[in-house]
Amino acid sequence: LTVTFYLFATVVGLLLAVFGWSLRALAKRSGASVSMAELEDFPRQHVTYFAQMRQALRTQDSQYLSARGMPKLARQIQTERRRVALRYLAGIRQDFQKLLRLARVIAVLSPEVNAVQEYERFKLTLQFAWRYRLAYLSLKLGHSPLPLLMELCHVVSGLSVRVEGIITCLGEQAAAGFDLGSTFERRGLDNT
Protein backbone atom coordinates (compact mmCIF):
# COMPACT_ATOMS: atom_id res chain seq x y z
CA LEU A 1 0.00 0.00 0.00
CA THR A 2 1.19 3.51 -0.80
CA VAL A 3 1.87 6.45 1.49
CA THR A 4 -1.06 8.26 -0.16
CA PHE A 5 -3.41 5.48 0.85
CA TYR A 6 -2.27 5.62 4.48
CA LEU A 7 -2.55 9.41 4.43
CA PHE A 8 -6.14 9.35 3.19
CA ALA A 9 -7.07 6.46 5.48
CA THR A 10 -5.77 8.44 8.47
CA VAL A 11 -7.71 11.55 7.44
CA VAL A 12 -10.88 9.48 7.01
CA GLY A 13 -10.36 7.82 10.40
CA LEU A 14 -9.91 11.23 12.03
CA LEU A 15 -13.00 12.65 10.35
CA LEU A 16 -15.13 9.71 11.50
CA ALA A 17 -13.77 9.96 15.06
CA VAL A 18 -14.44 13.71 15.26
CA PHE A 19 -17.94 13.27 13.82
CA GLY A 20 -18.67 10.51 16.33
CA TRP A 21 -17.42 12.71 19.16
CA SER A 22 -19.57 15.68 18.08
CA LEU A 23 -22.65 13.44 17.75
CA ARG A 24 -22.01 12.07 21.23
CA ALA A 25 -21.59 15.57 22.64
CA LEU A 26 -24.82 16.73 20.98
CA ALA A 27 -26.73 13.62 22.09
CA LYS A 28 -25.70 14.27 25.72
CA ARG A 29 -27.02 17.80 25.50
CA SER A 30 -30.29 17.05 23.76
CA GLY A 31 -31.72 15.39 26.85
CA ALA A 32 -30.55 18.04 29.25
CA SER A 33 -32.21 21.21 28.06
CA VAL A 34 -32.96 23.67 30.80
CA SER A 35 -34.71 26.97 30.96
CA MET A 36 -33.19 30.44 31.04
CA ALA A 37 -33.81 30.33 34.79
CA GLU A 38 -30.63 28.27 35.19
CA LEU A 39 -28.57 30.91 33.48
CA GLU A 40 -30.08 33.52 35.75
CA ASP A 41 -28.63 31.66 38.72
CA PHE A 42 -25.24 32.07 37.16
CA PRO A 43 -22.29 32.08 39.56
CA ARG A 44 -24.09 32.29 42.85
CA GLN A 45 -23.87 28.54 43.38
CA HIS A 46 -20.12 28.51 44.01
CA VAL A 47 -19.47 32.08 44.97
CA THR A 48 -21.84 31.79 47.91
CA TYR A 49 -19.22 29.56 49.54
CA PHE A 50 -16.52 32.18 49.09
CA ALA A 51 -16.35 33.18 52.77
CA GLN A 52 -16.19 29.56 53.94
CA MET A 53 -13.52 28.80 51.34
CA ARG A 54 -11.41 31.74 52.48
CA GLN A 55 -11.65 30.49 56.04
CA ALA A 56 -10.86 26.92 55.02
CA LEU A 57 -7.86 27.95 52.96
CA ARG A 58 -6.09 29.75 55.80
CA THR A 59 -2.89 28.05 56.88
CA GLN A 60 -2.81 29.31 60.46
CA ASP A 61 -4.85 26.36 61.77
CA SER A 62 -2.44 23.68 60.55
CA GLN A 63 0.57 25.76 61.63
CA TYR A 64 -0.96 26.07 65.09
CA LEU A 65 -1.62 22.32 65.27
CA SER A 66 1.94 21.49 64.12
CA ALA A 67 3.37 23.87 66.70
CA ARG A 68 1.21 22.19 69.34
CA GLY A 69 2.74 18.83 68.52
CA MET A 70 -0.16 17.43 66.52
CA PRO A 71 1.39 16.95 63.05
CA LYS A 72 -0.87 13.97 62.26
CA LEU A 73 -3.98 16.02 62.81
CA ALA A 74 -2.44 18.91 60.84
CA ARG A 75 -1.78 16.56 57.91
CA GLN A 76 -5.30 15.18 58.11
CA ILE A 77 -6.71 18.69 58.02
CA GLN A 78 -4.50 19.56 55.05
CA THR A 79 -5.75 16.48 53.18
CA GLU A 80 -9.34 17.41 53.90
CA ARG A 81 -8.76 20.96 52.77
CA ARG A 82 -7.12 19.76 49.57
CA ARG A 83 -10.22 17.71 48.87
CA VAL A 84 -12.34 20.82 49.41
CA ALA A 85 -10.00 22.79 47.15
CA LEU A 86 -10.46 20.19 44.41
CA ARG A 87 -14.21 20.45 44.68
CA TYR A 88 -13.99 24.20 44.58
CA LEU A 89 -11.79 23.99 41.51
CA ALA A 90 -14.50 21.87 39.87
CA GLY A 91 -16.99 24.57 40.88
CA ILE A 92 -14.89 27.21 39.18
CA ARG A 93 -14.92 25.11 36.06
CA GLN A 94 -18.71 25.02 36.24
CA ASP A 95 -18.75 28.80 36.53
CA PHE A 96 -16.47 29.08 33.52
CA GLN A 97 -18.74 26.77 31.55
CA LYS A 98 -21.83 28.73 32.48
CA LEU A 99 -20.16 31.94 31.41
CA LEU A 100 -19.16 30.28 28.17
CA ARG A 101 -22.73 29.09 27.66
CA LEU A 102 -24.03 32.57 28.09
CA ALA A 103 -21.48 33.87 25.57
CA ARG A 104 -22.49 31.17 23.09
CA VAL A 105 -26.19 31.85 23.47
CA ILE A 106 -25.55 35.55 22.82
CA ALA A 107 -23.40 34.71 19.76
CA VAL A 108 -25.96 32.28 18.34
CA LEU A 109 -28.79 34.77 18.75
CA SER A 110 -26.87 37.74 17.37
CA PRO A 111 -27.43 38.94 13.81
CA GLU A 112 -23.70 39.72 13.53
CA VAL A 113 -20.73 38.15 15.24
CA ASN A 114 -17.08 39.11 15.32
CA ALA A 115 -14.76 36.36 14.07
CA VAL A 116 -11.93 37.55 16.31
CA GLN A 117 -14.14 37.40 19.41
CA GLU A 118 -15.38 33.95 18.48
CA TYR A 119 -11.90 32.66 17.77
CA GLU A 120 -10.67 34.08 21.06
CA ARG A 121 -13.46 32.33 22.94
CA PHE A 122 -12.68 29.05 21.19
CA LYS A 123 -9.01 29.44 22.11
CA LEU A 124 -9.89 30.31 25.71
CA THR A 125 -12.08 27.23 25.95
CA LEU A 126 -9.22 24.98 24.87
CA GLN A 127 -6.76 26.78 27.15
CA PHE A 128 -9.04 26.54 30.15
CA ALA A 129 -9.62 22.82 29.60
CA TRP A 130 -5.87 22.24 29.46
CA ARG A 131 -5.04 24.46 32.44
CA TYR A 132 -7.82 23.00 34.51
CA ARG A 133 -6.36 19.53 33.96
CA LEU A 134 -2.91 20.75 35.02
CA ALA A 135 -4.26 22.52 38.09
CA TYR A 136 -6.27 19.45 39.04
CA LEU A 137 -3.21 17.21 38.70
CA SER A 138 -1.13 19.73 40.62
CA LEU A 139 -3.57 19.61 43.54
CA LYS A 140 -3.85 15.83 43.35
CA LEU A 141 -0.08 15.50 43.54
CA GLY A 142 -0.01 17.42 46.81
CA HIS A 143 0.85 20.93 45.68
CA SER A 144 -1.29 23.44 47.59
CA PRO A 145 -1.43 26.81 45.84
CA LEU A 146 -3.95 28.07 48.36
CA PRO A 147 -3.45 31.82 47.83
CA LEU A 148 -4.20 31.28 44.17
CA LEU A 149 -7.47 29.56 44.97
CA MET A 150 -8.38 32.60 47.00
CA GLU A 151 -7.51 34.79 44.04
CA LEU A 152 -9.75 32.67 41.85
CA CYS A 153 -12.52 33.13 44.39
CA HIS A 154 -12.14 36.89 44.00
CA VAL A 155 -12.29 36.64 40.20
CA VAL A 156 -15.41 34.52 40.27
CA SER A 157 -17.12 36.75 42.80
CA GLY A 158 -16.29 39.71 40.54
CA LEU A 159 -17.84 37.86 37.61
CA SER A 160 -21.08 37.34 39.47
CA VAL A 161 -21.64 41.09 39.71
CA ARG A 162 -20.89 41.74 36.02
CA VAL A 163 -22.85 38.75 34.77
CA GLU A 164 -25.82 39.85 36.82
CA GLY A 165 -25.66 43.06 34.79
CA ILE A 166 -25.62 41.05 31.55
CA ILE A 167 -28.55 38.90 32.66
CA THR A 168 -30.46 42.03 33.62
CA CYS A 169 -29.74 43.46 30.15
CA LEU A 170 -31.01 40.27 28.48
CA GLY A 171 -34.00 40.22 30.79
CA GLU A 172 -34.92 43.76 29.77
CA GLN A 173 -34.76 42.78 26.12
CA ALA A 174 -36.86 39.70 26.79
CA ALA A 175 -39.37 41.87 28.61
CA ALA A 176 -39.40 44.18 25.60
CA GLY A 177 -41.10 41.49 23.60
CA PHE A 178 -38.73 38.60 22.98
CA ASP A 179 -39.40 35.15 24.34
CA LEU A 180 -36.02 33.51 24.84
CA GLY A 181 -37.22 30.22 26.33
CA SER A 182 -39.67 29.42 23.60
CA THR A 183 -37.08 30.35 20.97
CA PHE A 184 -34.72 27.69 22.31
CA GLU A 185 -37.46 25.09 22.36
CA ARG A 186 -38.66 25.84 18.84
CA ARG A 187 -35.25 25.98 17.25
CA GLY A 188 -33.78 22.99 19.04
CA LEU A 189 -31.10 25.20 20.52
CA ASP A 190 -29.67 23.75 23.68
CA ASN A 191 -28.93 26.37 26.27
CA THR A 192 -27.53 23.99 28.86
Binding site: Q63, I106, N114, E120, F122, S138, G188
Partner: protein, 262 residues
Protein backbone atom coordinates in the same frame (compact mmCIF):
# COMPACT_ATOMS: atom_id res chain seq x y z
CA UNK B 1 -27.09 -10.14 -19.78
CA UNK B 2 -25.52 -6.79 -18.76
CA UNK B 3 -22.12 -8.19 -17.92
CA UNK B 4 -22.89 -7.95 -14.20
CA UNK B 5 -22.48 -10.73 -11.64
CA UNK B 6 -25.53 -12.05 -9.76
CA UNK B 7 -24.43 -10.25 -6.58
CA UNK B 8 -23.99 -6.96 -8.43
CA UNK B 9 -27.38 -7.38 -10.10
CA UNK B 10 -28.99 -8.09 -6.75
CA UNK B 11 -27.29 -5.08 -5.14
CA UNK B 12 -28.30 -2.87 -8.02
CA UNK B 13 -31.92 -3.96 -7.77
CA UNK B 14 -31.90 -3.44 -3.97
CA UNK B 15 -30.37 0.05 -4.32
CA UNK B 16 -32.85 0.98 -7.03
CA UNK B 17 -35.71 -0.24 -4.82
CA UNK B 18 -34.52 1.82 -1.81
CA UNK B 19 -33.96 4.90 -4.01
CA UNK B 20 -37.50 4.63 -5.40
CA UNK B 21 -38.96 4.05 -1.93
CA UNK B 22 -37.08 7.06 -0.51
CA UNK B 23 -38.24 9.26 -3.38
CA UNK B 24 -41.83 8.17 -2.82
CA UNK B 25 -41.46 8.83 0.91
CA UNK B 26 -40.15 12.34 0.28
CA UNK B 27 -43.08 13.05 -2.04
CA UNK B 28 -45.83 11.55 0.14
CA UNK B 29 -44.56 13.20 3.30
CA UNK B 30 -44.12 16.51 1.49
CA UNK B 31 -40.51 16.64 2.64
CA UNK B 32 -39.29 17.55 -0.83
CA UNK B 33 -40.31 21.10 0.11
CA UNK B 34 -38.11 21.04 3.21
CA UNK B 35 -35.16 19.32 1.52
CA UNK B 36 -35.34 20.34 -2.16
CA UNK B 37 -31.67 19.61 -2.95
CA UNK B 38 -31.81 16.25 -1.23
CA UNK B 39 -34.93 15.46 -3.23
CA UNK B 40 -33.12 16.52 -6.43
CA UNK B 41 -30.17 14.33 -5.46
CA UNK B 42 -32.32 11.23 -4.86
CA UNK B 43 -34.18 11.91 -8.12
CA UNK B 44 -30.78 12.29 -9.80
CA UNK B 45 -29.41 8.96 -8.55
CA UNK B 46 -32.64 7.23 -9.58
CA UNK B 47 -32.36 8.70 -13.08
CA UNK B 48 -28.67 7.78 -13.15
CA UNK B 49 -29.56 4.17 -12.33
CA UNK B 50 -32.05 4.10 -15.22
CA UNK B 51 -29.50 5.74 -17.55
CA UNK B 52 -26.73 3.32 -16.60
CA UNK B 53 -29.01 0.32 -16.86
CA UNK B 54 -30.01 1.41 -20.36
CA UNK B 55 -26.40 2.07 -21.43
CA UNK B 56 -25.20 -1.28 -20.08
CA UNK B 57 -28.15 -2.95 -21.83
CA UNK B 58 -27.30 -1.30 -25.15
CA UNK B 59 -23.47 -1.11 -25.12
CA UNK B 60 -22.51 -3.57 -22.39
CA UNK B 61 -20.95 -3.09 -18.95
CA UNK B 62 -17.31 -2.92 -20.11
CA UNK B 63 -17.82 -0.64 -23.14
CA UNK B 64 -16.08 2.73 -23.40
CA UNK B 65 -19.31 4.64 -23.99
CA UNK B 66 -20.95 3.12 -20.89
CA UNK B 67 -17.91 4.13 -18.90
CA UNK B 68 -18.12 7.72 -20.14
CA UNK B 69 -21.83 7.93 -19.39
CA UNK B 70 -21.15 6.56 -15.93
CA UNK B 71 -18.41 9.13 -15.15
CA UNK B 72 -20.31 12.13 -16.58
CA UNK B 73 -23.49 11.24 -14.70
CA UNK B 74 -21.37 10.66 -11.59
CA UNK B 75 -19.99 14.19 -11.94
CA UNK B 76 -23.54 15.60 -11.93
CA UNK B 77 -24.44 13.43 -8.96
CA UNK B 78 -21.41 14.66 -6.99
CA UNK B 79 -22.44 18.26 -7.68
CA UNK B 80 -25.94 17.45 -6.41
CA UNK B 81 -24.32 15.88 -3.32
CA UNK B 82 -22.41 19.09 -2.77
CA UNK B 83 -25.71 21.01 -2.92
CA UNK B 84 -27.18 18.59 -0.36
CA UNK B 85 -24.26 19.43 1.93
CA UNK B 86 -25.00 23.15 1.47
CA UNK B 87 -28.64 22.43 2.32
CA UNK B 88 -27.58 20.48 5.41
CA UNK B 89 -25.39 23.35 6.62
CA UNK B 90 -28.08 25.94 5.98
CA UNK B 91 -30.70 23.93 7.82
CA UNK B 92 -28.38 23.32 10.74
CA UNK B 93 -26.92 26.78 11.32
CA UNK B 94 -28.53 28.98 8.64
CA UNK B 95 -31.28 30.35 10.91
CA UNK B 96 -28.62 31.89 13.18
CA UNK B 97 -27.52 34.70 10.88
CA UNK B 98 -24.52 35.88 12.84
CA UNK B 99 -22.71 32.60 13.28
CA UNK B 100 -23.82 31.39 9.84
CA UNK B 101 -21.98 34.34 8.26
CA UNK B 102 -18.87 33.22 10.11
CA UNK B 103 -19.32 29.47 9.57
CA UNK B 104 -19.91 29.53 5.80
CA UNK B 105 -16.66 31.42 5.31
CA UNK B 106 -14.76 28.91 7.42
CA UNK B 107 -16.39 26.03 5.53
CA UNK B 108 -15.52 27.59 2.19
CA UNK B 109 -11.90 28.02 3.25
CA UNK B 110 -11.76 24.42 4.55
CA UNK B 111 -13.28 23.11 1.30
CA UNK B 112 -10.79 25.02 -0.85
CA UNK B 113 -7.82 23.79 1.19
CA UNK B 114 -8.94 20.14 1.26
CA UNK B 115 -9.79 20.13 -2.44
CA UNK B 116 -6.48 21.75 -3.35
CA UNK B 117 -4.40 19.39 -1.21
CA UNK B 118 -6.19 16.28 -2.45
CA UNK B 119 -5.90 17.38 -6.08
CA UNK B 120 -2.17 17.85 -5.59
CA UNK B 121 -1.99 14.07 -5.33
CA UNK B 122 -3.49 13.68 -8.83
CA UNK B 123 -1.72 11.60 -11.42
CA UNK B 124 -1.62 12.94 -14.95
CA UNK B 125 -3.40 10.04 -16.65
CA UNK B 126 -7.09 10.48 -17.59
CA UNK B 127 -8.57 7.85 -15.23
CA UNK B 128 -6.13 9.00 -12.56
CA UNK B 129 -7.42 12.58 -12.75
CA UNK B 130 -11.04 11.44 -12.64
CA UNK B 131 -10.40 9.20 -9.62
CA UNK B 132 -8.48 11.97 -7.84
CA UNK B 133 -11.12 14.58 -8.57
CA UNK B 134 -13.77 12.20 -7.23
CA UNK B 135 -11.70 11.55 -4.11
CA UNK B 136 -11.00 15.25 -3.61
CA UNK B 137 -14.68 16.17 -3.85
CA UNK B 138 -15.75 13.36 -1.54
CA UNK B 139 -13.09 14.32 1.01
CA UNK B 140 -14.26 17.93 0.81
CA UNK B 141 -17.86 16.84 1.42
CA UNK B 142 -16.80 14.73 4.41
CA UNK B 143 -14.72 17.59 5.86
CA UNK B 144 -17.54 20.12 5.51
CA UNK B 145 -20.02 17.77 7.21
CA UNK B 146 -17.63 17.17 10.12
CA UNK B 147 -16.68 20.85 10.52
CA UNK B 148 -20.29 22.03 10.50
CA UNK B 149 -21.13 19.47 13.18
CA UNK B 150 -18.17 20.63 15.22
CA UNK B 151 -19.52 24.16 15.04
CA UNK B 152 -22.99 22.91 16.00
CA UNK B 153 -21.44 21.11 18.93
CA UNK B 154 -19.45 24.21 19.99
CA UNK B 155 -22.52 26.46 19.82
CA UNK B 156 -24.76 23.72 21.23
CA UNK B 157 -27.18 23.74 18.33
CA UNK B 158 -29.04 20.45 18.57
CA UNK B 159 -30.05 19.33 15.07
CA UNK B 160 -33.21 17.50 14.04
CA UNK B 161 -32.89 13.71 13.88
CA UNK B 162 -33.18 13.85 10.07
CA UNK B 163 -30.20 16.19 9.86
CA UNK B 164 -28.19 13.73 11.98
CA UNK B 165 -28.97 10.82 9.68
CA UNK B 166 -28.55 12.88 6.53
CA UNK B 167 -25.08 13.93 7.69
CA UNK B 168 -24.15 10.41 8.80
CA UNK B 169 -25.20 8.98 5.42
CA UNK B 170 -23.26 11.61 3.46
CA UNK B 171 -20.19 11.20 5.63
CA UNK B 172 -20.16 7.39 5.54
CA UNK B 173 -20.47 7.23 1.80
CA UNK B 174 -17.92 10.01 1.21
CA UNK B 175 -15.38 8.38 3.54
CA UNK B 176 -15.90 5.06 1.85
CA UNK B 177 -15.39 6.68 -1.56
CA UNK B 178 -12.10 8.24 -0.41
CA UNK B 179 -10.77 4.86 0.76
CA UNK B 180 -12.12 3.11 -2.30
CA UNK B 181 -10.63 5.68 -4.70
CA UNK B 182 -7.26 5.33 -2.99
CA UNK B 183 -7.37 1.57 -3.60
CA UNK B 184 -8.56 2.10 -7.17
CA UNK B 185 -5.74 4.54 -7.90
CA UNK B 186 -3.18 1.89 -6.94
CA UNK B 187 -4.78 -1.15 -8.57
CA UNK B 188 -6.84 0.41 -11.34
CA UNK B 189 -7.76 -2.67 -13.36
CA UNK B 190 -7.72 -5.65 -10.98
CA UNK B 191 -9.60 -3.73 -8.30
CA UNK B 192 -12.34 -2.19 -10.46
CA UNK B 193 -14.95 -4.93 -9.80
CA UNK B 194 -14.40 -4.86 -6.05
CA UNK B 195 -14.48 -1.03 -6.20
CA UNK B 196 -17.89 -1.12 -7.92
CA UNK B 197 -19.20 -3.66 -5.47
CA UNK B 198 -17.98 -1.85 -2.34
CA UNK B 199 -19.26 1.46 -3.67
CA UNK B 200 -22.71 -0.04 -4.15
CA UNK B 201 -22.72 -1.57 -0.66
CA UNK B 202 -21.73 1.71 1.01
CA UNK B 203 -24.27 3.65 -1.03
CA UNK B 204 -26.99 1.15 -0.11
CA UNK B 205 -26.07 1.57 3.56
CA UNK B 206 -26.33 5.38 3.25
CA UNK B 207 -29.68 5.08 1.46
CA UNK B 208 -30.97 2.80 4.23
CA UNK B 209 -29.92 5.42 6.81
CA UNK B 210 -31.73 8.17 4.92
CA UNK B 211 -34.83 6.04 4.44
CA UNK B 212 -34.85 5.41 8.19
CA UNK B 213 -34.46 9.14 8.90
CA UNK B 214 -37.25 10.28 6.58
CA UNK B 215 -39.67 7.72 7.98
CA UNK B 216 -39.83 9.90 11.08
CA UNK B 217 -42.11 12.91 11.08
CA UNK B 218 -40.08 16.09 10.75
CA UNK B 219 -40.14 18.85 13.34
CA UNK B 220 -41.98 21.87 12.00
CA UNK B 221 -39.60 24.60 11.01
CA UNK B 222 -40.42 27.97 12.45
CA UNK B 223 -40.05 30.82 10.03
CA UNK B 224 -37.89 33.56 11.51
CA UNK B 225 -35.67 33.13 14.52
CA UNK B 226 -35.50 35.36 17.52
CA UNK B 227 -32.38 37.48 17.32
CA UNK B 228 -30.94 39.87 19.84
CA UNK B 229 -30.18 43.44 18.81
CA UNK B 230 -26.70 43.90 17.28
CA UNK B 231 -25.59 46.04 20.21
CA UNK B 232 -26.08 43.20 22.68
CA UNK B 233 -23.29 41.16 21.13
CA UNK B 234 -21.04 44.16 20.59
CA UNK B 235 -21.47 45.17 24.21
CA UNK B 236 -21.46 41.82 25.97
CA UNK B 237 -19.20 39.55 23.97
CA UNK B 238 -15.94 41.44 24.68
CA UNK B 239 -16.91 41.63 28.36
CA UNK B 240 -17.60 37.92 28.55
CA UNK B 241 -14.36 37.11 26.75
CA UNK B 242 -12.46 39.35 29.13
CA UNK B 243 -13.94 37.51 32.10
CA UNK B 244 -13.16 34.13 30.55
CA UNK B 245 -9.61 35.31 29.91
CA UNK B 246 -9.25 36.45 33.52
CA UNK B 247 -10.39 33.07 34.82
CA UNK B 248 -8.00 31.42 32.41
CA UNK B 249 -5.04 33.57 33.39
CA UNK B 250 -5.55 32.85 37.06
CA UNK B 251 -5.77 29.18 36.37
CA UNK B 252 -2.53 29.27 34.40
CA UNK B 253 -0.73 30.50 37.53
CA UNK B 254 -2.39 27.89 39.68
CA UNK B 255 0.53 25.52 39.97
CA UNK B 256 3.29 28.12 39.74
CA UNK B 257 2.77 30.34 42.79
CA UNK B 258 4.14 29.19 46.10
CA UNK B 259 2.24 29.88 49.23
CA UNK B 260 3.73 32.91 50.98
CA UNK B 261 5.13 32.37 54.44
CA UNK B 262 3.05 34.18 57.02
Amino acid sequence: MLGLSITQSFLWAATFGVEAALLALLIFRGQYREFPFFFAYILGVLLQSVLLFSSYWIWGFDSLISGRIAWISQGIIILLRALVVVELCRRLVGPYRGIWALIWRVLLACSAIVLFVSLLQAKLSVPGIVVNADRGLELTIATVVVVVFLFASFYRIVPQAQIHFLAAGLLLYSCFCVINDSFLERWMEPFSNVWNFMGMVSFLASMALWFWAFRMPSTAEVSGTFLLPKETYRLLSPQLNLQLRQLNDRLSLFWRIEEPHS
